[in-house]
């Protein structure tokens, strides 16, 4: 088997006296859908933030596609091929859906001030390509008809889709989704599941934080469980579901 796409090695993160992540190691293989679950406050989003460079880890390292990821440099992480969405949707609210996705192309395009002002043929071509790709992606996530609407005017579900389109615009190798199904009804969740499966079929590895256990167990190839900042289990869903430590974490051990 080839080397894993992502390997987190003994990642630590403290906030003052609180340990948010302790010695978290996990590996994500190329092409899988990997779930990260755990009770509230277990450190899932903290792990995301360390992974994407928004937080500086206090220990450990993350190796992505063979190279160590730079710490505290979100734009470099995006450059290397990790794109993410946010638990509490962070779109560019007063830009159109189209513009949001176009911003997502930033990291794969090059025009500078001179190109922008002179609008030379190369910049023109690049601009046209950005627009074309953004249009494709909006259709891909099924909101092609909302291209000219402001992001803030989209429905909740469409905003989630737009955020995924924006993340895909950077041609990621790994797409990290932070609770994409939060607040969705069952129909929306089913559509989301189809979307994520489609993304995987296109060759993009998916890392998924999710509370909807049914979705995670049905969708993910492997699942890791965090509890109080520590990884307590990592396996295929069928095994994870029966793991006593996981049941304890979710249901409370002392009472059981």
């Amino acid at each position: 088997m080839s080397a894993p796409l992502l390997e987190a090695r003994a990642v630590d993160k403290h906030f003052g006296g609180v340990t948010a992540l302790r010695d978290v190691s996990l590996t994500i293989e190329q092409g899988e859908i990997y779930g990260l679950i755990g009770p509230n406050g277990a450190g899932k989003t903290t792990f995301f933030n360390v992974l994407t460079g928004l937080y500086h880890p206090d220990g450990g390292e993350i190796v992505f596609a063979g190279d160590r990821l730079p710490a505290s440099a979100p734009h470099k992480v995006a450059q290397r091929g990790i794109a993410r969405t946010f638990q509490n949707i962070r779109l560019f609210a007063n830009m159109t859906a189209m513009e949001n996705v176009m911003v997502g192309r930033h990291v794969r395009t090059h025009a500078g001030v001179l190109g922008a002002v002179l609008l030379d043929p190369r910049t023109r071509r690049e601009e046209a390509a950005i627009r074309r790709r953004a249009e494709e992606l909006l259709h891909y996530v099924n909101i092609g008809d909302r291209a000219d609407d402001l992001a803030r005017h989209l429905s909740y579900g469409d905003q989630r889709r737009l955020e995924i389109a924006r993340a895909l615009a950077s041609d990621p190798k790994l797409l990290a989704l932070d609770e994409p199904a939060a607040g969705m009804n069952s129909v929306e969740t089913r559509d989301l599941r189809e979307l994520i499966e489609g993304i995987r079929a296109d060759g993009i590895t998916v890392l998924l934080i999710e509370h909807d256990v049914k979705l995670v167990m049905g969708l993910c190839d492997r699942v890791a469980v965090l509890d109080y900042g520590e990884k307590i289990c990592e396996d295929v869903p069928a095994v994870v579901q029966k793991d006593p430590k996981v049941i304890e974490a979710y249901l409370g051990g002392s009472l059981a």
């Binding site: 994407t52 460079g53 928004l54 979100p74 734009h75 995006a78 450059q79 794109a83 993410r84 946010f86 509490n88 949707i89 962070r90 779109l91 560019f92 609210a93 007063n94 830009m95 513009e99 176009m102 911003v103 997502g104 192309r105 930033h106 990291v107 794969r108 395009t109 025009a111 500078g112 001030v113 190109g115 922008a116 002002v117 609008l119 910049t123 690049e126 601009e127 950005i130 402001l150 992001a151 803030r152 005017h153 989209l154 429905s155 909740y156 905003q159 924006r166 950077s170 607040g183």
Partner: protein, 370 residues
């Protein structure tokens, strides 16, 4: 009746209408100073020239405040840098008389460098905090100019630099009437044409930037800096670029100001000036180029209208002058600002998105999601 924004949209899509509109507007702009000069006299021509300088300043500040969302309260410092560079390199003060085509770009570059100097330490700041630091920066520059006359006399201190060379190209100086093909262009008109040309250049550059990858990155930072970072935008560089571009426009305007005025002193670059330029951007319509231009024109003209109008109006109404026009001027001006902010909170001519934002058309789904 079409709204101005609709008219712009029409021109954008209809090539022939666009050409006709351009020719008509071009002719109007060309004839404008002649009409103003004949009807209202030279003092209004001067005000018109200043309005063009302020438009350049407002457009520069608009990049920082309107696009990138970084509140800069010390913007006039860049105007000062451009003006003093021109003053020192083309006046008897150091005995240097360098050509304009060299000084103006140098002024833009030096102001841009000052933009980086201001931007670099303030990268992590936003909103109120950034406003305080930039305000301090503006004052620091002014106080330096005021005190750099000892131990070595660089800026000539509070006396300022006088006898600055008028803007000239080779043997043609804009300080005297210029004869072209039998026509005589008075000095103030010549300055008008030069300033107009540069203002149009700045408008062009701004429009191109706004609709580019860089412009989108600026707005993305304004909207959500963390999301912008995660999209792969190097927010440090892109913010510094905003400061630099904005500052360089200020540097150009400053150089022109020095050559036009023939005299610069630190007093011309006080906090009130920064506030004025910021008002032009905010009142005109933050982020919308046309609105910012309108703001620049109105805020240059209004105080002058009040200054010149308050006396005669009082004479006609009461037969005597009750309130000193000079005192009344700022009072009326302040009132005008309050009225605009009450009735058009997004600015007189806001960008489309900001207008919607203020009108609250949305159901604001995004906020609920948080």
């Amino acid at each position: 009746m079409m709204t101005p924004t609709q008219a712009l949209d029409t021109w954008r899509h209809d090539k022939r209408a666009a050409i006709v509109a351009t020719v008509v507007i071009g002719l109007l702009l060309a004839v404008f100073p002649i009409v103003i000069g004949a009807a209202l006299g030279n003092s209004w021509l001067r005000i018109l020239d200043f309005a063009l300088l302020y438009i350049m300043l407002a457009l520069g500040l608009n990049i920082v405040v309107g696009f990138a969302g970084l509140l800069d309260m010390g913007y006039i410092a860049f105007y000062a840098v451009g003006a003093y560079l021109y003053a020192l390199l083309a006046s008897p003060h150091f005995g240097l008389h360098l050509p304009v085509w060299l000084i103006i770009p140098a002024g833009a570059a030096l102001a841009g460098l000052f933009g980086v100097l201001l931007g670099a330490p303030t990268l992590r700041l936003r909103g109120d905090y950034l406003a305080i630091v930039t305000l301090g920066f503006g004052e620091i520059v002014r106080i330096f100019l005021n005190n750099l006359n000892a131990p070595i006399n660089v800026t000539n201190g509070p006396q300022g630099v006088s006898g600055i060379d008028a803007i000239h190209f080779g043997g043609i100086t804009l300080a005297k009437p210029i004869s072209v093909l039998g026509f005589t262009i008075p000095s103030l008109n010549a300055y008008y044409y030069l300033f107009l040309a540069l203002a149009l250049l700045i408008v062009f550059v701004t429009i191109r930037l706004e609709n580019s990858r860089i412009g989108r990155a600026w707005v993305a930072i304004r909207e959500d800096e963390i999301a912008a970072k995660s999209c792969g935008i190097n927010t440090r560089n892109i913010k510094l670029l905003a400061f630099t571009m904005g500052a360089s426009f200020g540097g150009v305007a400053g150089g022109l100001f020095a050559g036009f005025q023939g005299f610069v002193s630190p007093e011309s670059f006080n906090l009130m000036e920064s506030v004025m330029v910021l008002c032009m951007v905010v009142l005109g319509g933050m982020g919308n180029i046309a609105g910012v231009i309108l703001g620049g024109i109105l805020l240059t003209l209004l105080p002058e209208v009040f200054r010149h109008g308050a006396g005669p109006v009082q004479m006609a109404l009461f037969g005597k002058i009750i309130l000193d026009p000079e005192a009344l001027r700022m009072l009326l001006f302040g009132l005008a600002l309050v009225v605009v902010m009450l009735y058009r909170p997004a600015g007189i001519w806001p960008s489309n998105t900001r207008r919607r934002e203020f009108r609250g058309e949305s159901t604001d789904v995004l906020k609920e999601g948080e």
